[in-house]
Symmetry: C2
Subunit: 387 residues, 2 copies
Amino acid sequence: MLHDFTYYNPTKIYFGKDSMQNLSAELANYGKNILLLYGKNSIKKIGLYDEVVKTLNACGKNITELSGIKPNPAYSQVLEGARLVRENKIDLILAVGGGSVIDCAKAISVSAYAKGDPWQRYWIDFEEVDNEIVPVGTILTMTGTASEMNGGSVITNEEVTIKTGRVYGPEVYPKFAILNPEFTYTVPQKQMVSGVFDVMSHLMEQYFSGDDDNTTDYVIEAVMKSIINSSRKAAKNPEDYEARSNIMWCATLGLNTITGLSKTQDWEVHNIEHQLGAYTDCPHGLGLAVISMPYYRYIYKDGIDKFVRFAENVWNVNTDGKTKDEIALEGIASLENFAKELGIPLTLRELGATEDMLPKIAETSYEGGGYKYMTHEDILNVLKECF
Amino acid sequence: MLHDFTYYNPTKIYFGKDSMQNLSAELANYGKNILLLYGKNSIKKIGLYDEVVKTLNACGKNITELSGIKPNPAYSQVLEGARLVRENKIDLILAVGGGSVIDCAKAISVSAYAKGDPWQRYWIDFEEVDNEIVPVGTILTMTGTASEMNGGSVITNEEVTIKTGRVYGPEVYPKFAILNPEFTYTVPQKQMVSGVFDVMSHLMEQYFSGDDDNTTDYVIEAVMKSIINSSRKAAKNPEDYEARSNIMWCATLGLNTITGLSKTQDWEVHNIEHQLGAYTDCPHGLGLAVISMPYYRYIYKDGIDKFVRFAENVWNVNTDGKTKDEIALEGIASLENFAKELGIPLTLRELGATEDMLPKIAETSYEGGGYKYMTHEDILNVLKECF
């Protein structure tokens, strides 16, 4: 059943090889002062930085730059960006990069004119944004988070050692996003497969909940099948445009809210991984992969019909003469084989975790979940299986 | 492969049993003067008219009414609505009904302040809208066209006997749409199944084109599987909320542009049906059903791999030891059986067509198509198979 939901996603997507051609026309919708936000030098290596600056200049814009946005964007960078926005009367924040840069852009967007301390008000107390929101536009160079078409903004406050996420409403979504799959060609293989598993995990976190017959579950299965198929190809040939274009769009669909409509959702794998990341600093997608299989084997009996459906519809598991348990476990084994095919490590050890970390990770992870309520003890059991 | 596309769909969807609760808050975004647009008396029978008027009054709105919008909305009604908009300084057109009422609302929206003759400029010469566009909001009572979340507007000009459609850009899409599946319970069975097949046809027209591996095709298959499953249930029990809610959302997804992204698309079945409709006035979805099977049997060899995929992925056809032709034809047979299950007639005769109409319908249908270019002669061959 489709439970009541609101769907509103006003981000304009320009997708494809020639999508950069739309930048000039979009820029005409905003004033002269642009904050150009990016990470390290990768956008310079692929020539994108020069192309963007050239277009901005041709459009008569004044450019203020803030570079070096970290993979886990720091709150100090948010404050620096907010100061630049105020001082330069910024009309548009143009985020060029992956999810981190876009998450940071949204944080700057809501913080620049905040009344009071934005960290406390927006990331700790989760208050509604009651100040001017500076528009964000983005040019995506790495896929995974879908930050280009949602309100997510994960920020790390280094002063208090807290990494926390907030999902803002559509008024904070990027106004436009330029998605050129070719920009993702040079993303290193390890980061690419980490991004792919992140997308799979987003889809599974939304899928594994509810017992109803629900259109959204069919759509999730479709996106899973497409990204599984395409990432197998891209792992062999990173410049396979067909594969990279599908991966890029699957990533956006995977968390632009359309694959979550009316679903209660799980998110326990992400919860645990966030704490794992705090201890090991491992790539997010790889952490998710290591936790996923033991986690799903731990909980599948509580949602067995959905795991049977997953095996049949996503992995084409032959069900003849098999019990539900056998089918469900074969589906999870297929997921594991897929991770292996992509070259993803499957133990916490390989990600740099040590045995003494496990109780700490379990203790600091939120209790909760989808089909099964996971206590700290349950989480520790799963972590031991992952080790 | 995903070919370049732009995706922008700013309609806000309120979905579910309690979705009417959002009407007051939405109305607060607009001025006092509302044009209330609806068809015949069905919205009065289900108590919706009273509920809407009560809410409008409680919000202090001035109501102007225009009722009796026809199933094929007439251009004379568009002009009447446009006059009412100007005279009453309308701030929002509230369309309560199905696709016809919403199509008409959009037509009024662009025509009220048109410079020159709107019919000639917007429906014949397909000019860009260069005047004020009056906002449209909608409360949906019948599913099928997805007009609640797209720019489609099909209008019949009775003076010159032309029925023609135009797809406007996102600036003309409804600003908000309230979708309560319960409002569709009282739609007569014949209209319900006609709507279901209309949705299936939208999906197939988008699906049967291109040879690429493309995320959009997976999403289309997902929506097909969901609506097939749910409409079988709803045909048995019209008040099955689970089934009706899925059908309603599948209909919206089926033509809100997300299932068409990067696809070249076909639309020849719709082209032929429009002419069939001009001669027989049969329900649109039933006309589509009658044409679809002979049409797909006529063209399948030109896109055989896609028809094999359709058979496997949508209908779970067992492919063991079968040729591609056998598999493809079995998929089309499954579609036909589905239509039979829903009680849909499968000959033009049953829809009131006579043999002498066929050459006229063929001659006035556009040549074109997806996998196969259909000449007038090809179209006539198909029509003879449908008869």
